[in-house]
């Protein structure tokens, strides 16, 4: 779409000012030259205030996620790719195939356009890789000091294939609990980059879109009861949520939990428990025991499930406690994290 602006947007040296959210020509130019240029797709290029697309029969899902992470750029990703992965994963955890994303940007006056362009380019790349286009969006600018650089909210829609019935209330005693890989990478990567901590091999965020892995798991033909991505609050919070929703208990085995050496070292140093640390490319899968081995094999065959592991079982428990057999030989509870371990992690 071509409009005539007196000069091109100075992405290299310019910064966001209040006119970029004012609804006038400056805003239109920002949208054209920065957002649409990077996120290009036919639905977005219709330049309506909404995107319209045909729907098929079946069940649709919708999920939304706001992103306020600091720093905006971190090892293994940035707020742009995170905003795509976060919402794609929320949609995918229903078993759905994600179709489209919407993105809302809140920009702080003075935010460098170069950084914005970098974030949007990363978002575009993540969206292309995932095959889930950003089809509509919104931009607001607030005065300096009223936001911290940039916040992004994304909303996604998707379609659940026939016969898939995944929900947090379906875990049954006897079911097995699986995870698709190393726990705690995202939280530790953010923390290490904020505090300039170095633990030999740098830990990078695991931020990734998981719908391909979910499709592969469903494609293996095994029944899945629950899927959830253990983001803030880590595996501990997710298992406690699922235990309460399903009215069951859980028992996990510490020795079976996949945790990277660097993550363990960082947690040890900072007094954290990897079970409470956030992930952005991990999922917890719960399914019936007879299919667990096949499910594990299907996960391990996918690049995002290479380190998948069976970590425990669902048990009967009226208190809905999550317990863990420690590698040390004892048993303890695994509780929700109280308070905030690390603000603004995603």
């Amino acid at each position: 779409m071509s409009r005539h602006y007196t000069s091109r947007l100075d992405i290299e040296n310019g910064c966001v000012d209040l006119t970029h959210g004012g609804g006038g020509r400056a805003m239109a130019q920002l949208i054209d030259e920065l957002f649409v240029a990077a996120l290009a797709n036919p639905l977005l290029e219709q330049m309506n205030d909404q995107a319209s697309f045909p729907v098929t029969a079946g069940r649709m899902v919708m999920a939304t996620d706001s992103h306020v992470v600091t720093p905006l750029f971190f090892p293994g990703g940035d707020i742009g790719s995170l905003a795509v992965h976060g919402t794609v994963n929320d949609v995918a955890m229903s078993g759905a195939r994600p179709l489209y994303l919407a993105a809302g940007f809140i920009l702080e006056e003075g935010f460098p356009l170069a950084d914005l362009a970098r974030v949007v380019a990363s978002m575009a790349e993540a969206s292309r890789e995932a095959g889930v286009p950003v089809v509509t969006g919104d931009t607001k600018v607030v005065e300096r000091g009223k936001a911290d650089g940039l916040f992004i909210t994304t909303t996604g829609v998707g379609i659940i294939p026939d016969g898939v019935e995944i929900s947090g209330d379906r875990a049954r005693p006897g079911d097995r609990i699986l995870v698709n890989g190393m726990l705690g990478d995202h939280g530790v990567a953010i923390m290490a980059s904020r505090e300039n901590l170095d633990f030999g091999t740098p830990v990078v965020s695991d931020s990734a879109a998981l719908h391909g892995l979910v499709a592969a798991m469903l494609g293996s033909g095994v029944e899945l009861h629950c899927l959830r991505d253990p983001t803030r609050g880590g595996l501990a919070a997710t298992l406690n949520e699922l235990a309460q929703q399903s009215g069951v208990g859980m028992l996990i085995d510490e020795a079976a939990l996949p945790v990277r050496e660097g993550v363990r070292a960082c947690c040890e140093f900072l007094g954290l428990d990897p079970l409470n640390v956030a992930n952005e490319g991990k999922l917890v899968a719960i399914g019936p025991p007879d299919a667990a081995e096949r499910l594990l094999a299907a996960m391990r065959a996918h690049p995002l499930g290479r380190h998948a592991a069976m970590v425990g079982s669902v048990i009967e428990d009226d208190h809905n406690f999550v317990q863990m057999d420690t590698a040390f030989g004892g048993r303890r509870m695994v509780d929700w994290l109280s308070g905030e371990q690390l603000p603004r992690i995603c």
């Binding site: 048993r331 303890r332 109280s338």
Partner: protein, 374 residues
């Protein structure tokens, strides 16, 4: 992880658990107090109670610096934080500790007070350098482990001629607290709290050494085994305590020989002695007023003493009358003896200090041990 996994080995733990079961005389009960919150945390986090026989009971001691700070001192910190010229810097644990009338530092922060969480008191010096027009106060808490760094920060501030840095000093002394517990009528005369020995502090002892505990072993005839914070350290210490009790001995033994010597860290002790002096008396939560149990900044360094600099008056805080923290800190009660535990008082909404710090007995019970009571 090197130097970590060796001390958390499940195989060795099972061997030690068997040895403990063999050592424990089934005809009697044993009660040992682990003084430090670090030990309490390790005991619950690694699920040690499941490895101990029924007749060996651990009593949780008052060695959690967050837990023993009386409400009045929290109120004083909140008062400092509310002064517009002050930036109050604190370790994260202190922010959620309730003061009187449901106040806390985190609440003061939400109301506009400039409260900052730091990992090290050296960060506070940096904040003071970056904000020359503000007064930067460090809310110093802790036993002998954290005292030398505070002393070092004051010395460094003096060298840097930092005129806007000061310390609200709440450093307390371990031997004074152990002595107070042993002197209490419940332990000494009535025997309502049977105590057969102590798992002695780990990090504190790296500074003060093992020598200060010899008095307790001798005078009160209680064995003390200084132990590291790793779970195998704790099991080994319990085994050593059982052996001493069974032989009728009361000695100081050092399980944590890889870090603790008899005399401790001379340099750290000298630094503390240069900057701090004993307070005549200090209030402890749970223990009440304990003579010569805490430190204050020496007159020579008075300009770095926030209490003098801002002329804040001592305060008497108001405890929640139903909160059993005082009795729990003395080993008189267990967390689940408290009516508030896991009901009105949870880590999300702590009413007492033992529920705030992860090293507090109530928080450790709640987070790791609730399933055993259920």
């Amino acid at each position: 992880m090197k130097y970590i996994d060796e001390f958390r080995d499940g195989e060795l733990a099972r061997g030690l658990a068997t040895a403990i079961r063999r050592e424990a005389d089934t005809g009697r009960d044993y009660a040992f107090m682990e003084f430090c919150g670090g030990h309490t945390h390790a005991i619950f986090r690694y699920g040690l109670p499941a490895l101990l026989p029924e007749n060996v009971r651990m009593v949780h001691g008052p060695g959690c610096p967050v837990c023993v700070l009386p409400i009045g001192r929290i109120d004083m910190a909140i008062e400092l934080a509310h002064r517009p010229e002050i930036i109050l810097c604190s370790y994260g644990d202190m922010l959620r500790v309730p003061g009187s009338e449901r106040t806390s530092l985190i609440r003061a922060k939400a109301e506009g007070a400039d409260v900052r969480m730091v990992y090290s008191c050296l960060d506070v010096l940096k904040i003071a350098q970056q904000n020359p027009e503000r007064e930067v106060v460090f809310f110093a808490i802790g036993f002998e482990t954290t005292t030398p760094p505070t002393a070092a920060a004051i010395k460094r501030a003096e060298k840097l001629e930092l005129g806007n840095f000061s310390v609200f000093c709440n450093h307390v002394l371990t031997p004074a607290a152990i002595g107070n517990i042993l002197e209490s009528p419940q332990v000494r005369e009535l025997g309502t709290v049977p105590l057969d020995g102590f798992v002695g502090p780990a990090h504190v002892s790296t500074v003060i050494g093992s020598q200060p505990y010899e008095y307790f072993a001798e005078e009160y005839h209680k064995p003390v085994v200084i132990a590291g914070f790793e779970p195998l350290d704790v099991l080994q210490a319990i085994r050593m305590l059982l052996a001493q009790v069974n032989r009728g001995e009361a000695r100081v033994e050092n399980e944590f020989a890889r870090a603790v010597t008899r005399d401790g860290n001379a340099k750290a002790k000298a630094l503390v002695a240069e900057v701090f002096e004993l307070r005549r008396v200090f209030e402890w939560r749970g223990l009440g007023e304990v003579p010569y149990s805490a430190l204050q900044v020496k007159t020579k360094y008075a300009s770095f003493d926030a209490e003098r600099r801002f002329r804040i008056e001592p305060r008497r805080g108001r405890e929640n009358p139903a909160c059993e923290c005082p009795a729990i800190l003395r080993g008189l009660k267990q967390p689940r003896d408290c009516k508030l535990f896991a009901k009105a008082c949870t880590p999300e909404n702590p009413l007492g200090s033992c529920m705030v710090s992860s090293e507090g007995a109530c928080a450790a019970h709640y987070t790791y041990g609730r399933h055993r009571a259920a």
